[in-house]
């Protein structure tokens, strides 16, 4: 019954850095052969610290950058934007939400135009229809019609992230890549956005690739988890497998570093402090 929406086989991405006057050219291996599959309606979480290649992988999945080697399948079709370019159909299937909602919205563009633009570029829908669809999408993400003519600076961080999610959903994508969508948000706003994402996933049968370094968020939202470290997937499995029995030492370090907010660990810390 389950259909695979996204499959990556041995994806590699190298960046070549041209040499300067005194240094020779170098190659950075950002992603070193990563494989994964995501089924329809599921969430794959990619975890790792800065510089581990998780955002590079996100750009490859979103068809922004081509992979250096390896195969990427979306809805069962092989995609290679380096050779064949990117068709409008492909662009409609994959969309991305970026980390910083302050940086990813054009400050001089009204929200209505932000939401209408993907339709303007990728479809030939008339203006009235674009407007209707944008209004409907505002409602879906918990905003109102009155927000249509406002500018991004008139919104809070959480509202902006809702707008970024709305923009990504305008083309009815089957796959949504979320690059740290809640790490710039406050705790209670984070909870609202996570709830919104869960609701939208149920409603549209969306498939998510969720990139994060916050393990407590990942544990809440993910079905499968991939832990990346220096460009390699050091651990890949279902959420329960990874969280209950982390195999790789890096995953264990990551778990140990996450601050715990439960009473038992506070008691342990205070006892230790008293003893010292």
């Amino acid at each position: 019954m389950s259909t695979t929406v996204l499959e990556g086989k041995n994806i590699v991405r190298d960046y070549h850095i041209g040499g300067g006057l005194f240094t020779g050219p170098r190659t950075v291996h950002a992603v070193k052969g990563v494989s994964f599959t995501v089924d329809k309606g599921k969430t794959l979480a990619i975890v790792g610290e800065s510089g581990c290649g998780k955002s590079t992988l996100a750009r490859i999945i979103t068809l922004i950058d081509p992979a250096t080697a390896g195969e990427l399948f979306i809805d069962g079709n092989k995609v290679d934007i380096a050779k064949h370019g990117l068709s409008k159909d492909m662009r409609r299937k994959v969309q991305i939400v970026f980390q910083n909602p302050y940086g990813s919205l054009n400050p001089r563009q009204k929200i209505g135009d932000v939401l209408g633009e993907p339709l303007l570029i990728n479809t030939d829908k008339p203006a009235a229809e674009r407007r209707d669809l944008a209004m409907k999408m505002l409602k879906k993400v918990g905003l109102g019609h009155e927000h249509y003519n406002r500018y991004p600076h008139m919104f809070s961080g959480g509202q902006r992230q809702r707008i970024a999610i709305a923009r990504a959903l305008m083309l009815n994508p089957s796959l949504l890549v979320l690059d740290e969508p809640v790490s710039a948000l406050d705790l209670s706003v984070q909870a609202q956005v996570l709830n919104l994402l869960a609701d939208l996933q149920d409603e549209f049968q969306l498939t998510y690739v969720f990139i994060s370094h916050d393990l407590s968020v990942v544990r809440y939202i993910a079905d499968d988890v991939m832990v990346m470290y220096f460009g390699e997937a050091v651990e890949y499995g279902s959420r329960d497998e990874v969280f209950s029995d982390p195999k790789h030492s890096y995953t264990r370090t990551l778990f140990a570093a996450t601050p715990r907010a439960d009473v038992a660990s506070i008691k342990a810390r205070l006892a230790k402090k008293k003893a010292a």
């Binding site: 800065s50 406050d186 209670s188 984070q190 996570l194 709830n195 869960a198």
Partner: protein, 285 residues
Amino acid sequence: MSLLEIKNLTVSFDTAAGPFMAVQGIDLAIEPREVLAIVGESGSGKSVAMLAVMGLLPNTATVKADRMAFDGVDLLELSPSERRKIVGKDISMIFQEPIASLNPCFTVGFQIEEVLRFHMGMDRAQRRARAIELMKLVGIADPEERLSSFPHQMSGGQCQRVMIAIAIACNPKLLIADEPTTALDVTIQKQILDLLVSLQAKYGMGLIMITHNMGVVAETADRVIVQYKGRKMEEADVLSLFESPKSNYTRALLSALPENAVGDRLPTVSDMMFEPAPSAAGAAL
């Protein structure tokens, strides 16, 4: 005697739409050798209250307090030049964005030595020796070499370590850390928190941690103040705050932690409390 004692602090900003009250009557006291956490969301006035103590607010801000005393000295009575002798020496602060807080045009060694020259009046050789000692203390490898590095040549975690070195250079009595780990990865966050707590214990400083991360509170604090929209919602020691939160807002914050999720929805703060009118925020709760 409390190290820092604040009574009924209000801070308002002049805006085009009239005065905006960022902090509305906060009381706060921190004892020597204590770790106090101030928790709240953006807009709760947690940073503004501490910037008022430091005297770092812009001219548009009006600071009023019944009492604002540091180590027995009334900060409100001091002239700006007297205040500058305390700020940066006895009270120091580290900020959220380490890379943005350091000056990109000068080496980190220069920036550490600057504080020593201004506050301690050390000569060149003493300054260099102390800078190396400080770099070692905050855990930077080959300090002699790294003194001549520029901020862009260091990682975010290392820059935050340099910031901490600058902050503790004059053995302050009170260190204020404003979201010191928000911009950092979890593994680096752990290292920085461990460093701050160990330095606090070693030198007997008072430490105020400003944060919105409940995990950071649980890992570091002795006592916690919860703020919302410029008002204090709750003050308790860390264990009783997590065990039996008294105010609705604290309870809402704790249940919004993803690890406390029940079923497949996260309770949000607005689920648990109505949105009060801004002026009546504190009273409504």
